[in-house]
Symmetry: C2
Subunit: 353 residues, 2 copies
């Protein structure tokens, strides 16, 4: 475990697809979606802390209003490492802020950036993959993304096209990226799958701190200037006040657009540790343990009769009996009950106004 | 309102067909099934008190373990009028007990006996029907039952066959009973409906106190002797102790078998005030107000999408969203959730062990 390793966990999401479990006040990353007793954020930090880096090198970037939840769920993360965005400006300003913060503490830092609300099946394999990438970025001025070997032609993920004939000089498992692809139509996704050099874009990045700061300077000079000016205030009592001033003026732009699609030295590490962005009840159903009829239940005493392919999530109920449902979501959370066909789940966000 | 009128409400039922709302500790009669803000017991007493008889002439017969609930729901009913059965022995011992109790207070009492958990649609019509019967039984030594003009060939109710060519001498709306019929098969029920002299047996009886006491003496001499011996203790501090001794030894028998099918002077008053024994979720659904797609909802904020013919009862939830269900029961009560096809509701009692 290298003390130069730092891990950034982005925890500012406000998804509503897991309503009624998730809400604007309690988004997905803070929920125990998988019934493990730990939130997705806690599981994410647990995959890194003590394995990839010491706990004091974990950074959480989140919204101001989630500070209490983060401190409650991660009491061991230093308050100094919890960065608060006064408003949402997508991933590029978020990563710029945390990058200058890390640089101010350790100019030799080697950094992993990850979402707080994704699922990883094989944590050992995941850890090895991350370590391999960190070794690579410690030695080279490269940006590495984790690409996931696709299981099926997903239309819900972006893809990374790799040039498999061009492995990196120092790590034969890391390849040059040819291009990033937006979420494709099904026919296009099927074509990607047929070829073997397309990978799901996991949104997990690895780089050393100088590489990313230089990339900001070259490709996003306005953002770079903004956060360079913030540097004298980082770690001081004035930091938050200054961040609140400058953040709203930052361009709303993802790091993919801002840097990835522009920079040259972009690499992909094709991984297969079992990954999902947990973007829907269907994806959650596919990951949870199933009974013989394809049902997945989270919650104490759930009994199913004549039911198939249902996801039942009711951790607050003493008892749940479901009879005669096929392909439904049943969720009870904090006094709110949702029953909805899985195939209609994209409408859930319309239900809860 | 005649001060000789007394009303007996039988509230010892322990049904489980409305699980999870009803339970052994909180049976149906104590629940606000209809979403009116009052329990079925409270609604039943409300139909009589101050209209048919003064509140101090209301008698509740129930199980020992429901005393607290009854006193909580009916604080205005005198404690003396709440009779407690130490065990369940069907309706004949229950009615014998309350009859000797009423007789000890008012030997000229004119009595209505009714279940605590039935539904009455037109309360004014109901009140008039009861008054008409009470006038009849005040003047004659007759037992009157309320017969309900059937809406459909129910196989869930017993029937009363009336001799419509033989109205009573003093009330042209009251007829001699030819026979009582058990719950019939569908074909038989259809035949009953075709003839016009078959009525649903509502289990509501009207008689004067001497008529029923004499009937017990003639047709159930053992029961009569038992409760005659109890008489000196009625209203004393020893009453409950003595009841607890004798009640378990009483025969387990309904008043229908014990008296109705044996006595001669049995009459029926054909009524049409809208009645149901509320024996199932289906019957509850048919009585509750519906939306245009046949759904009935009880509970604050229930929203239905693409759903038909559902009953949703969730008074404890802040919000309920149901999408894509047709013909289902959805009930949340006190931390227990049931989702079940209406057509499978007879299996509900098997679900909750």
């Amino acid at each position: 475990m290298d003390k130069n390793n730092h891990v950034v966990v982005m925890a500012g999401g406000i998804g509503s697809r897991f309503w009624p479990m998730s809400s604007a006040e309690m988004p997905k990353q803070f929920l125990d979606l998988l019934g493990t007793g730990r939130s997705l954020l806690q599981m994410t930090v647990g995959r890194f802390a003590g394995k990839i880096c010491p706990i004091e090198n974990i950074w959480i970037v989140t919204s101001e209003k989630f500070l209490d939840i983060v401190q409650q769920q991660l009491p061991e993360v230093p308050r100094r490492n919890i960065l608060l965005e006064p408003c949402r400006r997508n991933t590029a300003p978020c990563i710029a802020y945390v990058s200058w913060s890390i640089k101010s503490i350790n100019p030799d830092a080697n950094v992993v950036v990850a979402a707080s609300d994704h699922y990883i099946a094989n944590e050992e394999n995941f850890c090895e993959s991350i370590k391999s990438c960190l070794q690579f970025t410690a030695e080279t001025d490269s940006i590495v993304t984790l690409g996931i070997k696709p299981d099926y032609p997903s239309t819900g993920y972006g893809y990374i096209e790799a040039d498999l004939s061009y492995p990196s000089a120092t790590n034969p498992n890391i390849y040059r990226v040819d291009s990033f692809k937006e979420k494709p139509e099904l026919e296009v996704a099927k074509q990607y799958i047929k070829e073997n050099n397309f990978f799901w874009n996991s949104g997990i990045f690895i780089w050393n701190i100088n590489t990313i700061i230089n990339a900001f300077k070259v490709y996003q000079p306005d953002l770079a200037n903004t956060f360079k000016k913030l540097s004298p205030y980082l770690g001081t009592s004035q930091e938050q006040e200054k961040v609140n001033e400058i953040f709203p003026q930052c361009e709303n732009i993802s790091v993919d657009y801002a840097i990835m699609e522009k920079a040259d030295e972009i690499y992909v590490y094709p991984a297969s540790f079992g990954w999902s962005d947990l973007g829907s009840y269907s994806s959650l159903l596919s990951l949870l343990p199933h009974d013989m009829r394809g049902n997945a239940c989270v919650g104490g005493d759930v009994r199913l009769f004549d039911s198939d392919n249902c996801i039942v999530h009711a951790t607050g109920e003493k008892k749940v009996v479901v009879q005669g449902l096929d392909g439904y979501i049943v969720v009870e959370h904090d006094g709110v009950l949702l029953i909805c066909k899985l195939e209609e789940e994209q409408r859930i966000k319309l239900f809860h106004d």
